[in-house]
């Protein structure tokens, strides 16, 4: 096996293993504390435990799309168009779409228990859904035929346009109607109204999900690199194989 192939034979590194182990430990704490140690809510009862998944996954979904936009702008505006940024953008969007799906599913379940409905046409919910569909479109653009550079340029522009689009969608829907529970943690007055252990578990959830996000993005962008390399070298290897066949004959 050549040295370059050996270098890419695994998508894990020392750093990603540390992140992975930390993610497992913190996530285990969140599961135990969220299901056993924390009390039920006075108003919402046991259903409040969905919060420990819903809020961190929403945070990660938005973080993922910010990472995608920043990485895309680095790819487009930097003098040397490094494909590494494109792969980070793509990996982050894939993970973001997954977390956004988790946010929408857990939000619907929570809404059914607290509002009595799986779905309400509330601004934050509607904007999140539009964001979800927009990034499914972004992933579809990444799968269009063409070179790796074409993929990077097209998807980079789409990611930056989404940054323009999302505030417009949000404001139009806010004008349209509103019902969602107001932000509890980031209260504009700075008053946090939550039991100490509940708050700690929620922040632990945010930390655990962030670690999972980082782990997934690190591995995914490396598998993308391997896939790009395989596509690039596929033809060269096929020609080499044919040449070797003719020599041996």
């Amino acid at each position: 096996m050549s040295q370059s192939t050996q270098k890419f034979s695994s998508t894990g590194t020392q750093a990603s293993r540390v992140i992975g182990v930390l993610a497992i430990v913190v996530m285990a704490w969140v599961v135990i504390s969220g299901l056993v140690f924390t009390p039920a809510d006075v108003v919402q009862g046991e259903s409040v435990r969905i919060m420990y998944v819903h809020v961190p996954s929403a945070w990660i979904a938005y973080l993922a799309f910010i990472v995608t936009a920043i990485a895309s702008s680095f790819y487009i505006f930097a003098k040397r168009h490094s494909l590494g940024f494109d792969r980070v953008a793509g990996a982050s969007a894939e993970v973001g779409v997954m977390f956004m799906a988790i946010t929408l599913i857990t939000g619907s379940l929570w809404g059914r228990l607290t509002w009595g409905e799986f779905w309400q046409w509330d601004p934050r919910l509607t904007t999140t859904t539009f964001l979800f569909v927009t990034y499914i479109g972004y992933l579809a653009v990444r799968r269009l035929d063409g070179s790796i550079e074409q993929r990077a340029r097209r998807s980079g522009v789409i990611a930056l346009l989404a940054v323009l689009e999302i505030p417009l969608v949000h404001f139009s829907v806010v004008f349209w109607r509103s019902l969602h529970q107001r932000a509890t943690i980031l209260d504009p007055n700075g008053d946090v109204k939550m039991d100490g252990l509940m708050l700690f578990t929620l922040f632990s959830g945010v930390v655990a999900f962030t670690l999972v996000f980082a782990w997934l993005v690190l591995h995914r962008q490396r598998t993308m690199l391997l896939s790009d390399l395989s596509n690039e070298r596929g033809l060269d290897n096929a020609i080499l194989a044919r040449q070797n066949e003719s020599v041996s004959n």
Binding site: V133, L144, I158, F171, F175
Partner: protein, 230 residues
């Protein structure tokens, strides 16, 4: 060699697109009947005069957006089939001027389409409009179609020449045009006075439509070149 002035490129591309339409008559012979059919099918589906009168604004803009997909795909299919876009690039022409020319041509076609759709709403859905409402309606149509023209051209350029563009274009465009659908529908309802809406309520929505058109006009001019520059 001096570069062709931007205004001449915009005017040439605009004239070219409109001339193609004047000769082929696809918008008049196919897209208009398609949009009219959508209006009729909505009437069958809703089957209630009061409901139709109430939702007329939304139906006009849904029919416009569905028609937008057809016009955009056709416009770029013509440009890519003979590698016309490649020729423009090779000629060293400013691609933002090509974007503006195509966007204006698309906007003019959408305005023509909307005039017919609004007339159909008067006939089929029995909507009414006051003098003040008419001013609001005309402004709303101009602002909304300009925004749709910009965004349609931008995403049409992105999907031009790719396999599966017929299905990809709606997936990309529908979330983006959601603000136009919401704002134009509310402004049109205010112009028609649907559900007791006052005409004055519509102007804030026209403001949103103007912001949308400005954002995608500037964003599109900057992004169109890198998008089709393969």
């Amino acid at each position: 060699m001096s570069q062709t002035p931007k205004s001449r490129v915009v005017s040439a591309v605009l004239t070219k697109d409109l001339r193609i339409e004047a000769r082929s008559r696809v918008v008049t012979n196919q897209v208009l009947p398609f949009a009219g059919l959508i209006m009729i099918m909505f009437a069958f589906a809703l089957d209630n005069d009061d409901v139709l009168q109430r939702v007329a604004g939304g139906l006009i803009w849904l029919a416009t957006i569905f028609s937008l997909f057809v016009i955009v795909q056709r416009s770029f299919a013509i440009d890519t089939s003979d590698s016309a876009l490649d020729s423009l690039r090779v000629a060293g022409i400013d691609l933002s001027a090509v974007f503006l020319g195509k966007a204006i041509a698309l906007t003019l076609q959408l305005i023509a389409l909307d005039v017919v759709l609004i007339a159909a709403a008067f006939l089929l859905y029995q909507v009414h409009v006051s003098a003040g409402g008419l001013v609001l309606l005309v402004t709303c149509v101009i602002c909304a179609t300009t925004g749709l023209g910009f965004v349609g051209t931008l995403y049409g350029g992105l999907t031009a020449g790719t396999t599966g563009r017929e299905t990809l274009l709606p997936l990309l465009l529908l979330p983006v045009v959601a603000p136009v659908l919401i704002a134009a529908t509310r402004a049109t309802e205010a112009a028609f006075g649907s559900g007791g809406a006052a005409t004055s309520e519509g102007w804030a929505w026209v403001g949103l439509l103007t912001i949308f058109a400005a954002v995608f006009g500037i964003g599109g001019s900057l992004a169109f070149g890198p998008l089709i520059d393969e």
